[in-house]
């Protein structure tokens, strides 16, 4: 829907992702929460806060846009330097996607170069989010087993808390 046609602006990109998120929130996230289950979300609103602001949308606007979202009980941010993430993608011979590399911004015609510029801005925004929303940072340049041990400790500590916070919609 639009993505392939190279037709999205930063704002329509942001709004379409918010629409998709709203749909998943109401159908896939809120019902299991009400049933007392644990929901593991691979990316959440924070991705939008970082990525959309890196594209130039207003910081306060995108936060307010997502004010219908439920605040996670625990948010893990896997932090990795750009070079490491680029090396990993290249090692898997992943072809960088148009929007993922920020090619829509016209900063560089070279996908790798564009990725570097764009992800640099995205990481800056994530760093801002760590304090603002209390994200738990996991050093993603560590070995996978070490990372997993950290994650399990964080999750275990969270689950020991007396009760899950109420769903606030």
């Amino acid at each position: 829907m639009g993505k392939k046609k190279n037709a999205l602006t930063p704002t329509t990109f942001s709004l379409l992702h918010a629409t998709d998120f709203a749909d998943r929130l109401l159908y896939n996230i809120v019902p299991p929460l009400k049933a007392g289950m644990i929901v593991i979300a691979d990316r959440y609103a924070y991705t939008a806060f970082a990525r959309d602001v890196a594209r130039g949308v207003d910081r306060a606007w995108v936060r307010d846009l997502y004010s219908f979202a439920v605040r996670p009980d625990l948010s893990l941010y896997f932090r990795v330097p750009i070079d490491v993430s680029l090396d990993r993608l290249m090692a898997r011979r992943v072809k960088l996607k148009f929007y993922e590399a920020g090619m829509d911004m016209g900063w560089s015609l070279n996908a790798q170069e564009s990725f570097r510029i764009f992800q640099g801005k995205v990481l800056e925004e994530y760093d801002r989010l760590v304090d603002e929303f209390g994200l738990s940072v996991v050093d993603a340049s560590l070995a996978i087993t070490d990372q997993q041990q950290l994650v399990r400790n964080l999750v275990a500590r969270q689950l020991e808390k007396p009760a899950l916070e109420a769903v606030n919609l």
């Binding site: 930063p10 329509t12 709203a22 949308v57 207003d58 306060a60 307010d64 219908f68 603002e132 929303f133």
Partner: protein, 271 residues
């Protein structure tokens, strides 16, 4: 979604305070963003003008706009028309969603906002830069009214549409529900969405239409001051309304910096 360490209510208030006033009592200058705007598109005072015509379905908006467009073009103005759900990006998706009836009110609001953003950036802003008169068949106010009636938070809606540009003129075609019902029934009948059947107030489409449109008209009415609507009595004959419209548009354009000289006299389809 709110920052950590404080409770939700506190932070919401904080965000609201930071947000610029949203067109309250005409405090937002026409041609400027209502709220946070698009930081990557600075809004200078472009020569073009936005004229929006608002009002519920069946009130006669498109008839009035067609006549107004013709008249403006004869006078040498370049005119671009834009209308709700007409964006190339979103129209197919919105039609699909309407027909399958799977969307909830929140996703509907966001799809409409996406459609508006697409038309704003690709049609309206370029037309303003080029000195056109943009005739908008509905602007953001119908979206605000429909969502408001469905219980979506009004402050959130205004922040969402903070990227919209305040029109230079907003005409509101005002009608009462009895006249509207007779007009809609003699023209094409009541449709599912215009009758607010998604609100599940009952199976009777007539009752649902009346109750829904009543709420909608109240919602429009409450926005008249907030956004500086020019209210036109839509129960009058078409040509009387059109004369009224032309008189007000003429008065506005002749006192503005817009010119007809450097524009072609030929009607312009699009930019």
């Amino acid at each position: 979604m709110t920052p950590d360490k404080t409770d939700k209510a506190d932070n919401k208030a904080e965000v609201r305070e930071q947000a610029p006033d949203f067109g309250a009592n005409g405090r937002i200058q026409p041609g400027r963003y209502y709220g946070h705007g698009l930081p990557y598109v600075p809004m200078d005072q472009y020569p073009g003008k936005i004229i929006a015509v608002e009002g519920t379905d069946g009130v006669g908006r498109s008839t009035q706009i067609a006549l107004l467009r013709e008249w403006l073009e004869v006078q040498g103005y370049g005119v671009v028309e834009t209308g709700w759900t007409r964006s190339a990006l979103m129209q197919p998706t919105i039609e699909l969603a309407k027909s399958s009836n799977t969307l909830n009110k929140l996703t509907f609001v966001l799809l409409y906002a996406t459609d508006f953003a697409d038309r704003l950036e690709k049609e309206i802003i370029p037309a303003l830069k080029a000195g056109f008169v943009v005739l908008s068949d509905r602007y953001i106010f119908s979206a605000l009214a429909r969502a408001g009636v469905r219980g979506v938070d009004r402050a959130w809606l205004r922040s969402l549409y903070g990227f919209a540009i305040a029109p230079h003129l907003v005409f509101y075609l005002k009608i009462d529900v009895d006249t509207l019902i007779r007009r809609v029934l003699s023209a094409r009948g009541m449709d599912f969405w215009e009758s607010g059947m998604d609100l599940k107030g009952g199976d009777d489409i007539y009752d649902s239409f009346r109750s829904y449109q009543n709420k909608l008209l109240r919602e429009y009415g409450s926005m008249a001051d907030e956004f500086g609507f020019r209210v036109l009595d839509a129960r009058r004959p078409v040509d009387v309304i059109q004369d009224d419209l032309r008189r007000q548009v003429q008065a506005f354009l002749s006192n503005s910096d817009i010119t007809t000289d450097n524009l072609p006299g030929q009607p312009t389809q699009a930019i």
